[in-house]
Each structure stands twice: as C-alpha cells, then as structure tokens.
C-alpha cells in the first residue's frame, strides 16, 4: 500500500513538474506577446549591427563574405545580451520573483522554463532572421545551413549563460552594462565554435564535430546554469 502511495506521489510530482514548466513558459510567452517591443528591439538591433559593418569597414563582397560568419555571430551575441537585462527585471520589480523564490516549487524548473521562454523570444527569431543577414553580407549559400544550425545550437547556451549575469545583477538599478562585463568573456567558446562551424560549412569541411561541441556546451549549460541562476537569484533577492 505504501509503495503504491509513493509511486502515485512521484507520478503526480512528475506531472506537476511538467505542469509547472509549461505554466511558466506559457505565462512568459504571453507576457512577451503583450509587450511586443521587447520582442522586436533585439531583432532590429541585430539588423543594425550587421548593417554597420559594410558601412564601417568595406562593402566589398569578397571581404564581406569572409567576415560574414563572425559578424552575424557577434551581432547575434550582442542582441542576446541586450535582451538579457529584461529577463528577471519586470518580475523583480512587481514582486513576482520574490513570490517565486518563496514558493515550494523547485526553482531549477522555473528558471529553466523562463530561460527557454526567453530564448524563444530572442534566440529563435535571431536564428530565423540570420539568413537575411547572410544574404546581405554575401555569405555563400553553402554556409546558410551551417549558420542557422550553429545559431540554433549556440543561442540557447548564450541565453543560459546570460541569465546567470541577469540573475546576479537583477537587484541593481543599472545592471545593463554590468551584465555585458560579466557575461561576454563566458560567451567566447560559443563564439569560437559557432563561427568556425559556419566557416567550415562555407569551405565544405565536415560540420559534425562543431555541432557536437556546441551541443556539448548546451548540455553542460542546461545542467549547470540553472543551478547558478537559482543561487544567484536567491542571493540577489534576499540581499
């Protein structure tokens, strides 16, 4: 009898965990949908940064094709960073975050779900917009699949790592620049392997290794980052 009860409990616990995950995801997506500027600003920023390079350096197609992977990746990285500050900010200001921390629900799941929602509003649109930038920067057609796949695998890691910075600075009035200082050095591995994957795709080298590495970083991020985010949130909110 006892065993049945515990089994039932674990079943229901699993259900509530998934339920919790979806509820938080739905709520965050709904909030983002209602506040559309947060959705579009990083995208516009992404386009603008990529426009600056031909204007600032050279409109030469050969040259642009060579730097395109790096430019798109750096622009995506900065756009993600720009949107990071809002991740916990509004929840912190209206007190929702404090309630969330006090609730008995596991913070790990809530945080993971919030980061996923954030990625769906920043990383995913950026990935979908990337081919447009690729065309503007004369990236060869062979590189497009590499660009999109590398962004698809890389931007969730950027969101996860950026969320650590957002959680550490949420209690501060001017967190924006500080997040960049904290997080940019940690973005370097993703940037290196992301651009390398695109360059390999352009030159026709095998890609699997890069995607494996990006995937490994994502897996590590999914397991480790929510722990750091949860710890950082507890510190920032209680202090």
């Amino acid at each position: 009898m006892e065993q049945i009860l515990t089994n039932e409990r674990s079943d229901s616990a699993e259900n509530t965990l998934m339920g919790l995950f979806w509820a938080v995801l739905k709520r965050d997506l709904m909030l983002a949908y209602r506040k559309k500027s947060d959705l579009f600003n990083p995208l516009v920023f992404f386009l603008m940064v990529a426009t600056l390079f031909p204007l600032g350096v050279s409109p030469e197609p050969d040259f642009l094709a060579e730097v395109a992977p790096g430019v798109v990746w750096v622009a995506a990285l900065l756009a993600t960073l720009l949107s990071m500050d809002s991740l916990f900010r509004s929840d912190f200001e209206d007190g929702t975050l404090e309630q969330t921390l006090l609730s008995p629900q596991p913070l790990f799941v809530i945080v993971l779900s919030k980061v996923l929602a954030h990625w769906m509003m920043s990383g995913l649109p950026l990935t979908l917009l990337a081919p447009l930038l690729g065309v503007m920067l004369f990236l060869p057609a062979e590189g497009m699949s590499g660009l999109m796949l590398s962004l698809l695998l890389g931007t969730p890691t950027l969101s996860l790592v950026g969320a650590i910075g957002a959680a550490l600075t949420v209690g501060l009035r001017k967190g924006g620049v500080l997040i960049s200082l904290l997080v940019l050095p940690l973005y370097i591995p993703v940037l290196i392997f992301g651009t390398s994957a695109v360059q390999a795709a352009v030159t026709g080298l095998p890609l699997a290794g890069f995607f494996a590495l990006l995937g490994a970083m994502l897996a590590l991020g999914v397991v480790m980052a929510p722990l750091a985010i949860a710890a950082a949130l507890r510190i920032s909110v209680s202090g």
Partner: protein, 252 residues
C-alpha cells in the same frame, strides 16, 4: 557542525573566527615578507646576470623569469578566489569571503603583468607588440573574468550580498576556464599553425630553470604577503563593531 569535527581539521574552524585569522596572519606575515624579499631579489639577480642566454632568443629570454611566474600566479589566484568564495557560500565563513575579495585586485594586477611582459616579449620574438597567441589570449580573458568579479563586487552595496554574488560569478568562471582555454587553443591552431610558442621549450638546462623555480616560489610568497595584508584590513573593516577590534584600536 560538531559531528563534522572528526574529519575537518581544527584550524579550518578556527579560520572562521576573524580574530584568530587576523592574529595568525599577523604572525605569518613577517616570515613570508622576508622569504619573498630574499627569493625575489636573489631570483632577479640570478635571472638577469647569471642565467645563461638562450641560443635562439638571446637575452630577451630573461623576460621568462617575470612572465611565467606571473602567468602561473594569476591562474592560481583565480582558483583560490573561487575556492574561497565557495567556502564562503557553503559554510558562511566571513573570512573566506574576505580572502576572495582580497584576491581579485591582486590577481588582476598580476594578470596585467603577465600580459604586459608577454606583449613586450612578443616584440623581439615575433616582431610585433601583440600577437593573438593562445596563451596571451587566454590570459586576456582571465583578466576580463577578474574585472567582471571586481565590477560586480563594487556594484553591490551590501557587503554580504556582494561577497556571495561574486563567489557565484567566480565559480561560474572557474567552470568555464577549461572550456575557454580549450576553445582558444583550438582556435589558435586553426588560425596560425606552428607558431613559435613562448614557454614550451624542450629541456631547459638547470641554470635556467632553477632561477625560474626560485622566482615562482618568490611570486607565491609575495602574493601571500599582499593577500594577508589586504585580508587583515578587510577583517578590521568588517569587524569594526566587535569588541576585540575596539581594544586593538584603543591599545595603539
């Protein structure tokens, strides 16, 4: 805590007492200061005047006696900062927080020293002041990590929150350092194959590596001196309300 006492050494718990730490550091300081002075002066004289010159790089090789110890120390210092931060987070040990805070500026300055000497060494070796060599790039990123920790610490007003937040950041950085190092090494071999590396040298003769070893130990002793001085200041500041600090000040 009492059941843990069996496997944790006594001094570990005594470290939790700011007063005990302050006093023990005061006792240790002169010894380390003498050791650091002797080792550094001896090491520098040996390195500059007596070590043989390198058959490839000539006398510019003598920069190694500053560059390598500072690079090693900058990395160990980050490690110590993260470990001290973790101890502060887990055991809520104030002294560990203070050690972690004191590590950051010293480590950053040592990282700057390693970068500057690396850049200077690059001029006669590679012909330019800066080369995107894997080691130099990793060191630059390490400096950025230090600067991030310092910036976060100074941005948060509450001492306890600042210490905990920067401990979390230092730990995240510590997890990332091997990944960054690996990716930068890989990136470096992709972009510039077979460069002349600064430090990887086949079989150094003893006249060369003995002074290097002396310098490394000297750098560590110097770091200990500077760290203890800073930590003692930090203890005095944070414990300003306690009676023993008051007595200490009155006695002066």
């Amino acid at each position: 805590m009492s059941e843990n006492k069996k496997w944790m050494p006594r001094w570990f718990y005594q470290l939790a007492s700011p007063r005990w730490s302050y006093e023990i550091m005061g006792k240790l300081l002169p010894g380390f200061a003498v050791a650091a002075t002797l080792l550094l002066i001896g090491g520098i004289i040996w390195a500059l005047a007596f070590a043989p010159e390198d058959y490839q790089q000539g006398n510019s090789f003598r920069i190694i006696y500053i560059h390598v110890p500072s690079a090693i120390l900058a990395q160990s210092c980050y490690m110590l900062m993260a470990v001290a931060g973790a101890i502060g987070l887990i055991w809520k040990m104030k002294v560990a927080d203070m050690v972690a805070k004191s590590c950051a500026p010293i480590g950053a300055s040592i990282a700057i020293l390693a970068l500057a000497t690396g850049a200077i060494w690059g001029k006669p070796t590679w012909g330019s002041w800066w080369v995107w060599d894997a080691r130099l790039t990793s060191m630059l990123i390490l400096l950025f990590l230090y600067l991030g920790v310092i910036a976060l610490h100074s941005a948060i007003e509450s001492e306890a929150t600042a210490a905990q937040s920067s401990a979390v950041l230092a730990l995240v950085g510590l997890v990332n350092i091997p990944i960054i190092k690996y990716s930068v090494d890989w990136w470096n071999t992709l972009h510039q194959p077979a460069t002349f590396t600064l430090t990887e040298r086949p079989a150094m003769p003893a006249e060369m590596w003995v002074p290097l070893l002396i310098m490394v130990i000297g750098f560590y002793c110097f770091f200990a001196v500077s760290l203890m001085m800073r930590t003692r200041n930090e203890i005095l500041h944070r414990e300003r309300r306690s009676s023993w600090v008051r007595e200490l000040i009155e006695k002066r």
